[in-house]
């Protein structure tokens, strides 16, 4: 059981960004993708989630054997894909509690109503893990949230929706060390043999708190190097200069 990306090519407004990307994330594993700006990391996360600004020109993405590229964004989410956004949207007028509730309701069979009491109990317990104040339930989704609050809110949604595969797009950006530790705590609490993670990050720092099984380097729309967690340390020390020097050792 895994999320398998095969020879994925994708463009935005005719400009190719992903150029034959291959990656397999089995359940139970945490994979990290690192790479310089503009290498296509965020595009990869958007393409997997189904953002319609991106056109997939060839390749496949299968979730436990099932092709998802033809499916709509909401359907992919219900199938078990979760993307924690780098820049989560603000949704004025919709309370956080109602938003998460609607997302859970969308997963129930038609005619079945979510148990409100159990829902709030669950929500509050997850918020406690993330050290989020209860007032965030009544506030409009991400509206006026600080950068750190938005990221915590992403992790809260991830914990509530119980996805099969989680993609975290630069969740560490804009976080101070305390917030980073709390976010890592949420992610680590969700580590399970039943769940795979893809963590996109610029910095090794996050990986001190969320220990990856595999680290990949992305450059110009492809995975150009893969290794274990020591690769992240190596990158931290030497940077991405090796990419220019042509010392490419493909995975």
């Amino acid at each position: 059981m895994s999320l398998v990306i095969k020879d994925l090519h994708a463009s935005i407004e005719e400009t190719p960004i992903l150029k034959g990307l291959n990656l397999e994330i089995p359940k139970g594993e945490i994979h990290a993708i690192m790479g310089p700006n503009g290498s296509g990391k965020s595009t990869l996360s958007k393409v997997i989630s189904g953002h319609d600004d991106y056109e997939v020109t060839s390749g496949s993405v299968t979730l436990d054997g099932e092709e998802i590229l033809e499916k709509d964004v909401d359907e992919r989410s219900r199938d078990g894909i979760f993307l924690a956004f780098q820049y989560p949207a603000e949704v004025p007028g919709v309370s956080n509690a109602n938003f998460i509730r609607a997302a859970l309701q969308a997963r129930l069979p038609k005619g079945e109503e979510l148990d409100a009491v159990a829902y709030y109990k669950n929500l509050y317990s997850k918020m406690d893990v993330l050290e989020m104040d209860r007032k965030f339930t009544a506030r409009a989704v991400n509206e006026g949230f600080s950068g750190g609050e938005k990221k915590r809110n992403e992790i809260l949604q991830m914990m509530m929706l119980d996805p099969k595969y989680c993609i975290l797009d630069e969740t560490d950006s804009g976080l101070d060390i305390d917030a980073l530790k709390i976010v890592a705590k949420g992610v680590n609490a969700m580590r399970s043999p039943e769940r795979g993670f893809l963590i996109i990050t610029h910095y090794q720092r996050l990986l001190d708190y969320i220990e990856p099984d595999h680290v990949h380097v992305m450059s110009d729309g492809q995975i150009v190097k893969s290794g274990d967690k020591s690769l992240a340390l190596e990158l931290e020390e030497h940077g991405y200069d090796f990419l220019k020097e042509g010392e490419l050792t493909n995975a």
């Binding site: 964004v73 219900r78 956004f85 949207a89 004025p92 919709v94 938003f99 969308a106």
Partner: protein
Amino acid sequence: MAQSSILESTPETPTQFPTWFSEQQQQAWADFQSLPMPSRGDEVWRFGNLKQLDFSEFTEKETSDIHFQIPSLPDGVICLPLEDALQSHSDLVQEHFMKSETRLGSAKFTALHKAKVKSGLFVYVPDGVKVADPIEVSHVLSGAHQTIFPHTLIVTGKNAEVSVIDRFSSANEDDAGLCIAVNDLIAGDGSKLTYCTIQELNTSSRMIQVNVTNVGRDAHATAFITNTGAQWARNESVSMMTGEGAHSDMLSCSIPSGTQQYDQRTYQHHASPHTNSDLLYKNTLYDTSKTVFSGLILVDEGAHYTDAYQTCRNLLMEDTTEANSMPGLEINADQVKCSHGSTSASISDEEIYYLCARGIPPQQARRLIANGFSTEVVERLRNEKLEEIVLQAIERKFALV
């Protein structure tokens, strides 16, 4: 015998009504006949649809269909059908009945209302008395081209408190009806008066509603308008802050769809110092619907330390909708805080994508956002029971679009 048009039939005031009332009806009929029809050049009808004002096909409905749901009332509170109050409390009704001129364009039609009105609600809450639960009134329109002229008159004494909700609906989906309603709200010193309307007529019907609120010293009045029905609805709302320290909330939530048109005109009149008013009108437009909002804040000379706010927000659910906003203010005093503004926006693709990325289907995501947009103004009612009733009406509409 074929009934004649409301434009031609002279009023027949029931004989049991007081003389002053029948005289006023005769006078109003004369006024109606002499007042000009609104025309293209009238500023208060700018962007308005004058074609909707042809009422020649309409006849007067013989009997009114009004249902009252009256909570338990403390001693001294008068809550009666207007026709009963005219007989039992003639002086009290006369003191307050339609005392203000109609300023926002429908003078001719308020004269028609005055000439023809036979039914409605009269509420009087004496000094210091508080009515806990809302008084609910339901007006049902039935029969082809039938017209009703419901009147709501609410008077609160010093430090009294009351809330009233008027609901307008149609007996069936087809009959084109006409409702010309007038509400007079007189909030006595230190009182709290909350009035709420829900207009859910069928989409063949038309509605004119003229609301005049008079707010006394340190009193707090709230007038809330909900529009989800009718082919065309025109709301004219005036709030006059006559007493020092008066506060007025003017709120509206409208959700037009199909070819529905809502035309709303407002007037926040600050006649005394230290008064404040806060207006928030929200429209959520679907299909090829159209709205007009025109608001004026007037701060009289001497009405210093006035705070006045006026906001109209339009959520455009389709790019085929049309929302016209004309905010305005005129300030003749010092130490005044005023703001006015209007916005029109559609839901951004990024918002929809975000909600969809959590598994919410796009249609539902749009509804969730639209619902949240409306809920924001409903919560300003700050009255749980009324909020619940209005939110149910909004839900009924969202289920259809």
